[in-house]
Structure formats: structure tokens, C-alpha cells
């Protein structure tokens, strides 16, 4: 099996160092670049399976890199490293085409999960798996049945659409904008979305006040728990 190649783009050597070590331990092949231009140059001549990109790069900005890559038609998954309080940056990056994000400082397990989710999603573009299971939730996408803790749950058409979207991107963060566009056509307010999420949680979660299925990414969007076994 050919190992998957990951490109790390970050201007801080210590961060590149431990990332290389950690990723190598998971049998990924690791390449490094210290800034945006180098990364773009590298990607012109080489293919990778995933890019880990720091937003706060000197010179060419992280967002510019994403823009360049997506404009050139690259579909390579991108996971960005961002500052905890840089909401605007995260949302912008995701809207430009990044797949997920991780806030500095982060634990390496979290990053690994995001990497896996991003890779799987890309590899699974064609044909969704008909049966989805994650924790208490079980969803049959063909027969349109939703089961929670063994019980059938009745959802309104809109609620079902919302849940289906989250399931198809399970483990990945989805921005408010993205969800509103996909489910509502983009015309409504975020408040509307919040109300629906709340209703879904009431119906699906064991403890709606402490959700474990539908997770909130403050200021960015929502994320459904990854499928079991991932």
C-alpha cells in the first residue's frame, strides 16, 4: 500500500518538527514547506494527498494559498492550523475551500481525526454508504429511517435534510453559511439554523444540554460526530 503523502506548511520549525514525527508514526509520508510560495511551487510539480496549512504565514497568506490551489482546480483536502480567536480567518478559509481546521494549541489526536475525516470524505465523493452509524445514532439513507438508541425518530422533511447533510460530512466541520446554502438555499438567518439544531438535539441526543452527536464549533458552524470505527 502506498503511504499517503501529507504536505506541512508552517513557518515555525518546532511545529514542523513534531508534526513530522507524529505523522510519520502514523505511516504518512511527510513533506515540509516554510511559507506559501514554496508550498505552491512544490505543489506545481508534486501531488500530495493532504495539506496541513498554517493560516498565519509570512509573505503569501494562508488564505491566498487556498485560493490559488482551488482556482487551479486542485481538490486536495486542506486542514488549516489557526489561532483560537481568529474566527473570521477560519470561516474565510472554510468558505474558500478548506476542509477543516484545528486551533493552536492542539493535541495531536484531534489533528489526526480531522485528517482522517478529510481524507475519507474526499475518497468517498462518489457513492455514499447507505447505512451510517455513530454512537446512539443510526441512519438508513435509502429507506430514510432514523433510529436513536433503538427507537425510531420522526423528523420533519427539513430536519431530515439537515441531518443528512451533517451525516454525509460526518467528522468534518460545516460552516453556517454552507449549511444554510445547502438546506435552505441561503436565504435565511443563522438564528433559524440554531433553532433547527436545537430541535434536532432534543430529538436525538441523550442529554440535549450536553450534546455528543451534533457538536457546536463556536463562531464557525457545526460538526457531526464521526462514524464509528473512524
Amino acid at each position: 500500500m502506498t503511504p499517503l503523502r501529507i504536505l506541512i506548511v508552517d513557518d515555525e520549525p518546532p511545529i514542523r518538527r513534531f508534526l513530522r514525527t507524529a505523522l510519520a508514526a502514523q505511516d504518512y509520508r511527510v513533506e515540509e514547506a516554510g511559507d506559501g510560495e514554496t508550498a505552491v511551487e512544490f505543489l506545481k510539480r508534486n501531488l500530495v494527498d493532504l495539506i496541513i496549512l498554517d493560516l498565519g504565514l509570512p509573505g503569501m497568506d494562508g488564505l491566498d494559498v487556498i485560493r490559488r490551489l482551488r482556482q487551479e482546480g486542485s481538490a486536495t483536502p486542506i486542514v488549516i492550523l489557526s489561532s483560537r480567536d481568529d474566527e473570521a480567518g477560519k470561516v474565510a478559509a472554510l468558505d474558500l475551500g478548506a476542509d477543516d481546521y484545528v486551533s493552536k494549541p492542539f493535541g495531536v489526536e484531534e489533528l489526526s481525526a480531522r485528517i482522517r475525516a478529510a481524507l475519507r470524505h474526499r475518497l468517498q465523493q462518489a457513492g455514499e454508504k447507505p447505512l451510517f452509524k455513530s454512537g446512539d445514532l443510526s441512519m438508513d439513507l435509502v429507506r430514510r429511517i432514523v433510529t436513536v438508541r433503538g427507537e425510531d425518530v420522526k423528523l420533519t422533511p427539513r430536519e431530515y435534510d439537515l441531518l443528512r447533510l451533517l451525516v454525509s460530512h460526518a467528522g468534518k466541520v460545516l460552516t453556517h453559511k454552507f449549511i444554510l446554502k445547502e438546506v435552505w438555499g441561503g436565504e435565511t438567518d443563522v438564528q433559524y439554523l440554531r433553532i433547527y439544531i436545537r430541535t434536532l438535539r432534543q430529538k436525538l441526543e441523550a442529554d440535549p444540554e450536553q450534546p455528543s452527536l451534533i457538536l457546536t464549533e463556536q463562531g464557525v458552524g457545526y460538526r457531526l460526530r464521526a462514524a464509528d470505527g473512524m
Binding site: 513557518d11 520549525p13 518546532p14 518538527r17 513534531f18 514525527t21 502514523q26 489561532s83 495531536v108 489533528l111
Partner: protein
């Protein structure tokens, strides 16, 4: 004209709004003394007291009448104030005591009373206005003869002219007028019973006053006036609430004001007419340029002021003659009624020179003209002064004589060449010259001289004053006539030219002042420039005051003046608080030395200008007053402009400081987070993938954790040091230290593993007074800096020398050196120069801290570029302590 607009009228709304917060004024009006106004006022006050209203007596004159006296029992009386005047001690209503007491209602008898000189206001109705403004309700009494606009009508009826008057404006503002009515028979009965007191008229006059016919007329007057007021109130109410009603056609009235007797009557008539027509009215004085004596000018000014007090407007217009001026104004302002006095002169004189009234009637067109007869004899505001002859200046007449003599000489010389009648023309030139240079009288004098000379020297028989040829008589007469007319016209043109020149000069001055104001940048300059300008343009002493904390302070003056006496300060303070003029010549505190006027902008009163003059009499004519207003407004605006400019600056600085702070915060947060990310990432990697990691990998990760933790520590230490320095909490612990000691420990700590270190310590270095911890940090920061910028493998030199009274420590590297503009700026907080190969830049604090520490220890630090090759050189200089110990 039907009014289909049903919106509430803004004027009426404003009037209503103006009433909010004021006390309510109720006037008990009577036709004559003795009808029982005071009695009625007390009755109603007692009733309100029973209702629980806090009522007090300010001043009530019972004149010993028992029944009135009884009514005052049970109502609290505010004790009167003692007011000494001309050796006697009089009792006056104590305005301040009432204001302090703050009752709900106060009774003030006899609204028209004149206060003792030295009181805050010269008239009691002004005291009442102050009470109303303070929110206290007032009941007061008034006789119809005291009302300003009715004053002469009553005098005509009763032949008693009353001096104490009350302006109509206060009646207009009263919330309630109650007519206390008594039939003439009942009043006469009371008079017989001795219950009527009229102190302002003598016994005889009183007998004339209390005649049934008179009383009936007065009663009607009072009834009508009350009805007028009620009607006006109703109209106001309807307009404020947009109730459709019979609005007046918009009439506008003009009354011509001049120095002739009877003008005051005309003004009062105009006010009554305006009331009936519900018209606005203006008193207009036509400035013809003819010489007016001071007294005449004063009288006109008084009349204009009277008009303003009675609710009209005042204006001065220049014109060739009175009729022209009046008609011009009327046409320009859509006047519909003109009121003018008609002099009763002889018919013949009228033919020769039609009085203005006739001319106006003829040319008025659609405008109604009301003629008010002038009355000679008993008169109004002041005695009309006999028109003074202007002082006859001997110089002017001497000059005229000279002109005549010259012309005579020329005439004699040219006698052979010119016909006799042409000589007359030459002499005429002399007359005109005299008119242009000196004015009317000297030129008439020249005319006379020339006529006589003409007769004597040129008309046969020569050298006599007789004339042989009758034709020559005609010539002589024509000559004199022409001389007279020419003098007249020329003199008038001359005066008008003088007036016009004055006006132009004033306008020019104002223009220059406004340009000067636009260029002034500080408040003090502005105030001084204003004081100077006002003093010069109006020929007065000026002071300018502005509020400072709670008090008014003198900020500028011309001539320069620092302090004001108590009376003046009180007047200034009052003017500032109330927003009205106060002081000399005004209605409030007229005993002060200066007149104080508020300068205001939309924000309110912002300064006070105080005026004084060494001359006696009134300070400002209406024209001057207008000029002052214009200057005052300009200055007020300039003050506001300066104030706003200052605020804008402050706002801008605040915004920039905010921006800077936000940027710093972001930068610091990044610097703190990045090492943490490495630490957390490495630690979690070790935990998660320990089994998959080789020994080498594990060691590397552990090393990263260690290094990054140190880096974080270093940065936090820098931040804390910086905080200590900034807050002044740094207390260096100065000791005598051996340099090599400190240098050694700094070198051990510094991250110079990749560089060669060259030490050049001069032997025999003295011990230095310094704080070892701080100094080691300074050295460390400099070495750390060198390590960052010097490429690996190059040499970092540390050189120490002693010279003069100081020790110099230099750290040299072989890096790229400092860019020129950065040499001083490197010591700024958070300033970083990015290294060329994009290596990580430092925290930006190291050098700032180094400088802070050096200065705290009494030394200096500078940065420069090496002369011998590329690289930076940092120089530390420390003084050698005077009690130096020999180097070990």
C-alpha cells in the same frame, strides 16, 4: 383668505413649549385705583392655601385698609429687605429670600412699582419675571393706566400721566388676567369712604381723575384690553392645536420714528393698531445724513428701544429723506400699514417743503397710511430737545471767507474779459467750494459775502452797495437763490458721503476681523483679538470672561484688566446664568460699572463680554449694538470652532491609541501561543504514538518541548520586565561588581552554540556599580540578538575598555547590520527587523528592555553599524564610580 392648512403653527407651539417649567402669572387688572384688586388677590390666595398650596406674601400694600389687612393674616409674609437710599431706609420686596423659600405661589402687589436704586432690577415686573423663570407662580395687581401701550390714552382721558409703566409683553405672557370690575358709582362711593389711595397723583389731580365720565372710559379700556388678551389666548390655543379658525390676514405695520415730538405717541398707537390687526410691526428710523445732535440721537434710540419693549422690531434705514426711506422700506418688506406723525405747520411752509407725511400719502399706493397728530406741550418719554445748532466753528467761516476772497480776486482780474453775470459764476464756485469743505452754514455765509462783494465790486454804481440797473437786482437775487440751493444740496451730499464712508469703513473692519478670526488657532489669542477689535470699533473698555470650573474668569481685556469688583462680578454671573444682559444701563443690576452681554452659540452661553466707557450716558446706540452683536456672534462661533477642533484631535488620538493597542495584543497573543502549540503537539504525539516512535524521534520531541518551554519562559520574562519598567517598579540593586563575572554568566546562558565568541577584555578594569541581575539580562539580550542575526559560524565579539571616566562594553556581530532608519528605532518596543532569510524574528522587546535597564542603572546604550565590515555594533557605557576600588 381661508386657511386650509391644519398643521399646528410652529410659532404657537413654541410659545406653548416656552411656558413649560415657568411659573404661572395671574394679573388682577383694574380700571382705577380702589376697585379692590388687592382684596380679590388675597381672597383667591387664601382659597388656594386652603387647597393646600404653599402660598406666601412677597409684598402687599394694604394702605391701612382694615378689611384688606385682615385677609393677610394667616398667610406667611416674607420679610421685606432693608434698602438704604439717600439717607433713608426703605423696605423693598426681598427677591432672593423668596427665591430661596421656593413657595408654590407668591403674591406681589403693584406690578408697576419702581424699585429702589441698588436693587437687582430697577422695576418690580422684572423681579416677577425672575420669579416666574424659577418656576414660582405669581399673583399680581395692575392698573390699566400703567400699561405701556395705553399710557398716553389714559393720560388723554384723565390728564394724569403716570410714570411707572409695565411693558405689554408681560401682559401678553400672563397666563390669566382677571378683571376686577366696579361700576363708577360704586367706586365713587368708596372714594367718599376714604378707601381709595392714589399716591402717584396730587389731591387736585385725583379730583380730576375720579370723574364719572373718566371712570367709565377707563373701565371700557380695561374691559377691552382684557378681552383682547382672552381673544389672543384663544387664537394661540387654536393655532397650537391646529383648529381651523378665522386667522388674520397677514398684516404688517410700519411706524416712522424721528426726533420730533409725538413720535412716542405714534409708537404706542402703532402697537395698539398692531394688536387689533394682529399684525407684526416695525419701528423705522430713517437716517438722512443731516446733522443730528447727541440729544436727538439719544431720543431716537430710546424710541426704538421702546418699540422693541412693546413687542415690535426696530430698524434703521439710510435714505435721502424721510418719506423716501419709509416708502422704500415699506415696499421692500410688504408693509400694509404705515403710521406717521403729521406736523402741524403753516400751510405755506407745507407748500414749499411738503412734510414727509404728505409725500408718503401721495406715494403710498396700496398701503394704508395712519396719521397721528403731533402734540406740542405735555409730552412722553423725554422732553423733545430744541434742535441744537451745531457749534459754529470759526475755522469754517474763516475758510469760507478765504474762498470768497480768492474768487473775488480772480473776478477782479478777469473783470475786463468777462461779462458781469459771468463773474457771478466764478463767485458761485467759491460758495460750492465752501459747501463741500465745510457744510451748510459756512457755505451760506460764503454766499452772503459773495453776494455783497458782487454788489460792491461789480454792479454799477461800483464800490457801493446800491444797484442802479434793476436787471442786476434780479441777477443778484438769482445769485443768492442759486447759492442757497447749491449750498443745501452740496452740503447734504457731503454729509451723506461722510456717512457712507463711515459705513464702508465699518464693513471693511468687520470683514478684516472675520478673516483674522479664521486664522487664529488658540483660545487666548482669539479672546485678546476680540477685546481689541471691540474696544477699537466701539471706543469702549472691554473685558471678556469665560467659565472656569464654577466661576467666571477674566480671560482678556482691552485696556488690560485682571479683576472685577463684586458688583460687576455679580452682574456678569447673572448674565451668564440667565442668558440676558445685565449691568449698566440694563434692567438688571444697573448699578454695576459695566454692561455685561452674553455671547452664545447653539450650545448656549459660552462667554460674557463686559463693556464700559468713561463717557456718561448710554453705552451703545442701536447701530452700535447691532455691530457689537455681529462681532460677538463671530467670536462665539470662532470659540466653538476651536473647541470642536480640539475635540476632534482628542478623538483621533484616542482612536489611534486603540488601534495600536489592538495590534499589540494580537502580536503578543501569537507570540505566546506558538511555543505552546509546539509543546502541546509534541507532548500529545509522545502520548499517542509512543509505540510507533523511534528512540531518536522521542528524544527529538522531548527536546522540542524543552526548547519551546524555554522560549515561552523567555518571552514571558521579557513581558514582565517591560511591565516592571513601565510601572516604575524597577528598583535596581546596585553593587560594586566585577565585570568578568557578569560577562561569564551571560555567555554561559546565551544561545551562542553556533557562533564563535571572541572576548577582548582590557586588563585592569575597575569594578562597576551596577545591578548584576539586570546587567546580565542586558548582556544576554544583546548576545541573543547577535545570535539571531549573525549567520552561524561567524564570530561574535565582546570588547570591554575603560577611557575617561567611563567603561565601554561593545558587542559586535558579523551579520547584515542595521538598516539606516532602524538604528534608533530598534530600541522601540516590539520593533523587529525581519532577518533576510526569513528566520524567526525575535520578540521585539529585548533591546527595549536593555535600554530601560541601562538607563535605570545610570548608563547608556546605542546601536550602530560596523565600520570595518558588515555587522552591527552595540555600545554600552557605564560611569566608573568615583570611589573606585583597584582591580583585583
Amino acid at each position: 383668505m381661508t386657511d386650509t392648512d391644519h398643521r399646528p403653527s410652529p410659532d404657537a407651539l413654541l410659545k406653548e413649549a416656552g411656558q413649560v417649567g415657568r411659573g404661572r402669572l395671574k394679573i388682577f387688572l383694574g380700571a382705577a385705583p380702589g376697585v379692590g384688586k388687592t382684596y380679590e388677590m388675597l381672597v383667591q390666595a387664601r382659597r388656594r392655601k386652603l387647597d393646600g398650596v404653599d402660598a406666601v406674601i412677597g409684598v402687599v400694600e394694604t394702605h391701612g385698609r382694615v378689611e384688606t389687612d385682615l385677609l393677610t393674616k394667616g398667610i406667611e409674609t416674607v420679610p421685606k429687605k432693608r434698602a438704604p437710599y439717600k439717607g433713608r431706609v426703605l423696605a423693598e420686596m426681598d427677591l432672593d429670600a423668596i427665591l430661596q423659600r421656593r413657595p408654590r405661589l407668591v403674591l406681589v402687589d403693584e406690578l408697576a412699582h419702581d424699585n429702589v436704586p441698588g436693587s437687582r432690577h430697577p422695576k418690580r415686573y422684572l423681579d416677577v419675571e425672575e420669579l416666574l423663570a424659577a418656576g414660582i407662580d405669581v399673583y399680581t395687581t395692575l392698573n390699566v393706566q400703567h400699561i405701556e401701550s395705553l399710557n398716553d390714552v389714559v393720560a388723554k382721558i384723565t390728564h394724569v400721566r403716570v410714570r411707572e409703566t409695565v411693558p405689554d409683553s408681560i401682559l401678553d405672557r400672563a397666563d390669566d388676567i382677571e378683571l376686577v370690575d366696579l361700576t363708577p358709582e360704586d367706586l365713587l362711593q368708596r372714594l367718599k369712604e376714604g378707601k381709595v389711595y392714589m399716591p402717584e397723583a396730587a389731591e387736585r389731580a385725583q379730583q380730576n381723575y375720579f370723574v364719572p365720565g373718566n371712570l367709565a372710559a377707563l373701565r371700557e379700556l380695561a374691559l377691552r384690553r382684557t378681552a383682547q388678551r382672552v381673544d389672543a389666548q384663544m387664537v394661540d390655543y387654536m393655532r397650537a392645536h391646529a383648529i381651523a379658525g378665522p386667522w388674520e390676514a397677514s398684516e404688517r405695520l410700519l411706524v416712522a420714528v424721528n426726533a420730533r415730538p409725538g413720535a412716542a405717541t405714534a409708537v404706542r398707537y402703532a402697537r395698539r393698531l398692531a394688536d387689533r390687526l394682529r399684525a407684526s410691526w416695525t419701528a423705522v428710523h430713517v437716517e438722512t445724513g443731516l446733522n443730528q445732535s447727541e440729544a436727538e440721537r439719544d431720543r431716537v434710540a430710546q424710541l426704538l428701544r421702546l418699540a422693541e419693549r412693546m413687542g415690535g422690531m426696530a430698524a434703521t434705514v439710510p435714505a435721502a429723506n424721510e418719506a423716501d426711506g419709509v416708502l422704500q422700506f415699506a415696499r421692500a418688506n410688504n408693509i400694509t400699514h404705515i403710521v406717521i406723525t403729521a406736523a402741524r405747520g403753516s400751510r405755506w411752509l407745507d407748500l414749499l417743503r411738503p412734510p414727509p407725511a404728505q409725500q408718503i400719502i401721495r406715494d403710498a399706493g396700496d398701503v394704508s397710511v395712519h396719521i397721528v397728530p403731533e402734540r406740542s406741550g405735555k409730552d412722553d418719554i423725554a422732553k423733545a430737545p430744541a434742535p441744537e445748532r451745531a457749534a459754529l466753528e470759526p475755522r469754517a467761516f474763516a475758510g469760507s471767507l478765504a474762498f470768497s476772497a480768492i474768487a473775488l480776486g480772480i473776478g477782479l482780474l478777469l473783470r475786463q474779459a468777462l461779462a458781469v453775470s459771468n463773474v457771478a459764476l466764478v463767485l458761485l464756485v467759491a460758495v460750492l467750494a465752501a459747501a463741500v469743505t465745510y457744510g451748510l452754514l459756512p457755505s451760506l455765509f460764503a454766499g452772503l459775502i459773495c453776494a455783497l462783494a458782487y454788489n460792491f465790486f461789480f454792479l454799477p454804481p461800483l464800490y457801493t452797495f446800491t444797484i442802479a440797473d434793476p436787471e442786476n437786482v434780479v441777477t443778484l437775487l438769482v445769485f443768492m437763490l442759486v447759492a442757497a440751493i447749491a449750498s443745501n444740496l452740496t452740503a447734504r451730499v457731503r454729509t451723506q458721503a461722510i456717512v457712507a464712508r463711515q459705513r464702508a469703513a465699518t464693513t471693511e473692519d468687520l470683514y478684516r476681523f472675520s478673516r483674522k478670526l479664521a486664522g487664529i488657532a488658540t483660545l487666548d489669542d482669539l479672546l485678546w483679538a476680540t477685546a481689541y477689535q471691540v474696544a477699537h470699533m466701539l471706543k469702549l473698555h472691554v473685558v471678556l470672561l469665560m467659565p472656569d470650573g464654577g466661576d467666571l474668569q477674566v480671560r482678556a481685556g482691552y485696556p488690560p484688566e485682571d479683576t472685577l469688583d463684586e458688583g460687576d462680578l455679580a452682574a456678569a454671573k447673572w448674565a451668564f446664568e440667565e442668558g440676558h444682559e445685565a449691568g449698566r444701563g440694563s434692567d438688571t443690576l444697573p448699578g454695576a460699572r459695566r454692561l455685561f452681554l452674553p455671547m452664545r452659540t447653539a450650545r448656549g452661553v459660552i462667554a460674557i463680554i463686559g463693556l464700559d466707557s468713561e463717557r456718561e450716558g448710554s453705552l451703545l446706540t442701536p447701530d452700535q449694538r447691532r455691530l457689537l452683536d455681529s462681532l460677538s456672534d463671530q467670536t462665539a462661533l470662532a470659540i466653538e470652532r476651536l473647541h470642536l477642533a480640539g475635540e476632534m484631535d482628542r478623538a483621533r488620538v484616542a482612536a489611534e491609541t486603540e488601534k495600536l493597542r489592538a495590534a499589540l495584543l494580537t502580536s503578543i497573543s501569537h507570540d505566546l501561543r506558538t511555543p505552546l502549540a509546539s509543546i502541546l503537539g509534541s507532548a500529545s504525539s509522545l502520548k499517542q504514538y509512543r509505540d510507533q516512535l523511534s528512540e531518536a524521534d522521542q528524544t527529538e520531541l522531548l527536546g522540542t518541548i524543552r526548547e519551546e518551554a524555554e522560549r515561552l519562559n523567555h518571552f514571558i520574562a521579557n513581558l514582565l520586565d517591560m511591565t516592571r519598567l513601565e510601572s516604575g517598579a524597577l528598583a535596581p540593586n546596585m553593587n560594586l561588581i566585577d565585570l568578568s563575572d557578569v560577562v561569564g554568566s551571560a555567555l554561559r546562558r546565551a544561545p551562542l552554540k553556533q557562533h564563535t565568541i571572541a572576548l577582548e577584555l582590557e586588563p585592569g578594569l575597575p569594578m562597576l556599580k551596577l545591578d548584576p541581575v539586570l546587567f546580565e539580562q542586558v548582556l544576554f539580550n544583546l548576545l541573543d540578538n547577535a545570535a539571531k542575526y549573525a549567520p552561524p559560524g561567524t564570530t561574535v565579539t565582546l570588547r570591554v575598555r575603560a577611557a575617561g571616566g567611563t567603561v565601554t562594553i561593545q558587542i559586535l556581530d558579523e551579520g547584515p547590520g542595521l538598516p539606516e532608519e532602524a538604528r534608533e528605532r530598534v530600541f522601540d518596543k516590539f520593533y523587529r527587523v525581519r532577518a533576510a532569510d526569513k528566520k524567526r524574528a525575535g520578540t521585539g522587546l529585548g533591546l527595549a528592555i536593555a535600554r530601560g535597564f541601562m538607563e535605570a542603572m545610570g548608563g547608556t546604550i546605542t546601536a550602530a553599524n560596523r565600520g570595518d565590515r558588515s555587522g552591527a555594533i552595540f555600545t554600552l557605557i557605564l560611569p566608573i564610580p568615583t570611589v573606585a576600588e583597584p582591580a583585583p
